[in-house]
Symmetry: C2
Subunit: 357 residues, 2 copies
């Protein structure tokens, strides 16, 4: 098998050891001589998986029992609705920072449920930067932010100080770097970038912010129902949660967040360094807001795209086409991406410059 | 590896060929040299999977373009809410037939959204039969039924005639027998019994019943949003849908519904025949309503349970403990269960009788 360098924006690259264990579990899970795909989620073998998957989140975030962890179906898109459904009161309002398509979708859903206020936005420059210097109101029901924006390659390097509950969509940079989790009241993330495959969504919430809206809630949209059911109020997405658990275990066993943060820094430095040095390319995001997960760049001469495409295609590089809103290229360098693959891309850029500059 | 006879009530047994392909796809999907767990759901290879998974439903149900098929996250439990959210008007009401825990949960969610009327129920006899002879009102927004009740081992052998849209939760007997799909306006099913692993839910809906409530809807709960997005409005549960597609393909390739219906009839006849013949056991469901998927039975002398448990355990039989609401035993004999495994259970029952009668 030829090596593929997988720069997919998501679902994204996972550790090969995790993939091997996932493959084995499809045939024989936990020495049960049964596939993980055909056993009860209430079997003790699987309950242990769910328990570990939940515990690892709290361990990696270094938080205590004031937080609860859930794994739910429906993706981060369902969280766009569940957050206001569980936190936004009839008479109050929710504050949002708009940093791109995903923030905008979150705002759209919140508006269906109640009042919202966009307190900062980078829409004026096609979301190529992170707004700063705004004031967070102290009477909002919560403030919602998006820590990393896959499409534009921007990332919050620090988080707003606020007195209201801080809610963060960390779908695309969860556990890629140290954050002070205790500053957040709720963190959610679709698994399919750094922590697993598509089909499971992690929600970590501070218990004391729940149950305050007075809203009569649909069971599947009610965090308290899922907390009480220990993420098994209904049949959970069994296999996606298992692979998520394996990925979190892989992260912990290799040294946790501080280990991966150092590697991610090196990968980002390598690739952004080349973009800035190379006369053929330029980055699209404001330098101080550059994402360490999604590196967006364009050719000064877009007419050379077909030529550059030939270069990287021939090297087994996959998934670096930019999102249609930005164009050009986007190299997603999630946790499981080895620096060797980034080097292959950087070498391709160098070679390309030699030939076409 | 010793053979395990998997009678799990769900997630339940899947065809071994499907499990092998699922396992392989975790390492190398579609000869891409990438895992299915780490590629974009928008890649042409995966879009083909989703298209086939949707098309197979319509093909097996023999319906045309008046129906749309979706694969969603969140399980049938989410459908308990989505059905009334999409179909129940502010001033109207929904009719429900209550045949057990799952129907009851569906009713509970509908009540949060609007008015409901339970037009028939078997709660008076602990749901051990299917209500009959009731009249379906012609002014309801829809009638909701549950075709098979895993916990009590009951199954509707015919469906109510009605002039209002008929909505059916087929989670536990989908594609186990011929039904006239055109009699239904909406059919939904959690995949994890007959058609796949946990994490994906199939919804087939007649388009013309949608868009009539005037309700402003959350995107993820709006069928029309998912139909427009061809089940990719957001990142779908990639792997669960793939395994569902493989299971549907397996069914089609082996001869479709008429093929499996005959096998399921034989399995059910074999097992119910033994229950009725054997002096040690008796069935719990009304004979005319006996489920061909979940066979519930008790020992006349419950004190012998530990002895019978030893018998079946020693034969590699797994998952036949009854639900706590009914007790005793429940053998789930879904599509992928070979008749040979049912024979092993029947032989165990015979041996047990010889020793303890």
């Amino acid at each position: 098998m030829s090596k593929v360098h997988n720069f997919s924006a998501g679902p994204g690259i996972l550790p090969i050891d995790v993939l091997k264990q996932a493959s084995e579990a499809c045939l024989n899970f936990d020495n049960m001589n049964l596939s993980l795909l055909e056993i009860s989620h209430r079997s003790k073998n699987y309950v242990a998986v769910m328990d570990e998957a939940r515990a690892l989140i709290k361990e990696l975030f270094e938080v205590g029992d004031e937080y609860e962890v859930m794994y739910l179906g429906g993706g981060a898109s369902t969280q766009f609705a569940m957050v206001p459904y569980n936190l936004l009161t009839e008479t109050g309002y929710a504050a949002y920072v708009n940093t791109g398509v995903w923030s905008s979708k979150a705002i759209k859903e919140a508006k269906i449920i109640g009042n919202t206020k966009v307190i900062a936005s980078s829409e004026d420059k096609k979301f190529n930067y992170i707004p700063k210097g705004y004031e967070v109101p102290n009477d909002a029901d919560y403030l919602h932010i998006t820590s990393n924006n896959t499409i534009y390659g921007t990332q919050m390097k620090s988080f707003p100080k606020c007195s209201v509950p801080l809610v963060c969509d960390m779908s695309s940079d969860l556990f890629s770097r140290k954050v002070n989790a205790k500053d957040f009241a709720l963190i959610y993330a679709g698994a399919q970038k750094n922590i697993g495959p598509a089909g499971s969504t992690m929600v970590m919430v501070k218990k004391d912010i729940l149950g305050k809206t007075g809203r009569k809630m649909l069971s599947m949209l009610d965090y308290q129902v899922h907390i009480k059911g220990e993420s098994m109020y209904n049949t959970p997405p069994v296999f996606p949660v298992y692979v998520t658990m394996l990925t979190l275990r892989w992260l912990k066993q290799h040294g946790g967040i501080s280990w991966i943060e150092e590697i991610n820094q090196k990968k980002a430095d390598l690739l952004y360094g080349e973009i800035d040095r190379n006369s053929m390319f330029y980055g699209t995001a404001a330098k101080e807001d550059r994402s360490f997960m999604n590196v967006c760049f364009l050719l000064h001469k877009p007419e050379l795209e077909p030529e550059f495409d030939k270069f990287w295609n021939s090297l087994g590089i996959s998934g670096i086409r930019g999102h249609r809103d930005v164009g050009g290229y986007r190299a997603s360098i999630y946790n499981a991406m080895p620096i060797e693959s980034v080097q292959v891309l950087v070498d391709a850029m160098k070679e390309f410059e030699k030939k076409f500059a």
